[in-house]
Symmetry: C2
Subunit: 221 residues, 2 copies
DNA sequence: GCGGCTATCTATCAAGTGATAAGTAGGGTT
DNA sequence: AACCCTACTTATCACTTGATAGATAGCCGC
């Protein structure tokens, strides 16, 4: 209720930011087929004004991606996992809590899914990064903490990756339930993420131990 | 390469089925904003012909839902879980393998997500059923197999439901990776579903045991 | 093979949909 | 207070898109 109407003649930068912010909210609600007229209506401006700030609809959508995803990768996640002075459980809890705070948001989850369904490569590129930089490290550190062979000696198997995918899925799906299906979820999502991470750490090392001894199907990608 | 062109003047029922089947493939690929002209083009017919078989686009989409979801609920799942003459592990494996065969398909997963993003109540209604009929039973049977209090005595807690959601998420996400992100997944998905279910049964009962003894936060819905 | 039923097509409408051009007016500068 | 830059609006285009009306022609029964 700050402004009755963010009206006429704003400085260029300010208007651009207003548009970008509303575009994030709008496209995350309606998908990228949402109409520019409706977006303009929500901004309290006319539709042609959008085109004074963005060359076309595609440029506007690019900006939305930039706002929601760009530079959200936290290099600390990798450092965190590498820091063997700390117990593994603490490292994993911090990682997954932090990561969940990033992805368990309306805009993040929905634009992520819209983007995936549209076949953008954003998703596969990000998940490729996640797999190589995070998942592989998680498995490496679990093996190390349990005195199992390093991935340098025995490559990470497909099934080991699947177990880490499963934890990732469990966390991500909290957001899907809340922001896509519109279901109620527990108020304290941190507690759930924590419980899931602990359960993972309780159960998975034994499986990995069995895998690094048994016949292995190394991950193909 | 059977038919050069499935041409003119088919019997009414046959044409209707052709349209319905192609509509499933088409809308699962393009989403419900896909254009009727493009659908007609894929069918090798003109766009107005669609309207001789379906009152409007909405009716066509209703038919797609019907084709993909209606009458797919298998009452056997409930009977299966109730059958205490069989070991719990066998029952859960059969349940989740069968369920995964239903949902881990291109059309099922994508239309499911499109529907969720559009805010259809299909998703929440189906998941409500799943929660009450399946999840609650899974927890009840785990408790019973481990000589823990029945849900009649100690209601199922929020966290217990979360653990079952997590298994569901892990399985569902295999389909999301494959059919929405376009990632490679293990060839033998049955083996993965089996491993996830076993891991669930290995780890979760201990957590549930702790929960039914510790202070409980009963599930609110 | 011919007549008629109707599956299918051609032509077209009306409402929208992204985008552009040219006019209007707000507000900082002097 | 007059001026001018440009943020913003009005008017409009070209194309798309769901939907309808009427013409055309394939196929079954005789």
């Amino acid at each position: 209720m700050k402004k009755p109407a963010a009206r006429r003649r704003l400085p260029r930068d300010e208007r651009e930011q207003l548009i970008a912010r509303e575009a994030v909210a709008f496209f995350s609600e309606c998908g990228f087929d949402g109409h520019t007229r409706e977006l303009a209506r929500r901004l309290g401006i006319t539709q042609p004004l959008l085109y004074r700030y963005f060359r076309n609809k595609e440029a506007l959508i690019d900006r939305v991606y930039q706002e929601v995803y760009l530079n959200r990768w936290n290099p600390r996640w990798e450092e965190l996992l590498d820091d063997r002075t700390r117990p593994l459980e603490g490292r994993l809890l911090e990682l997954y809590l932090d990561y969940s705070h990033m992805i368990l948001r309306y805009e993040w989850i929905r634009i992520w899914m819209f983007s995936g369904l549209k076949g953008m490569d954003l998703n596969s590129r990000f998940l490729g990064l996640l797999r190589e930089r995070i998942f592989a490290r998680v498995i490496r550190e679990i093996r190390h903490a349990h005195h199992l062979p390093s991935p340098d000696d025995i490559p990470i198997s497909e099934m080991e990756f699947e177990l880490v995918w499963a934890l990732h899925a469990s966390i991500f799906y909290i957001g899907v339930r809340r922001w896509i299906y519109g279901l109620e979820i527990p108020e304290n999502t941190d507690a759930v993420v924590e419980a899931l991470t602990r359960a993972f750490l309780d159960g998975v090392p034994a499986v990995i131990a069995a895998l690094t001894r048994g016949p292995l199907a190394p991950a193909t990608r």
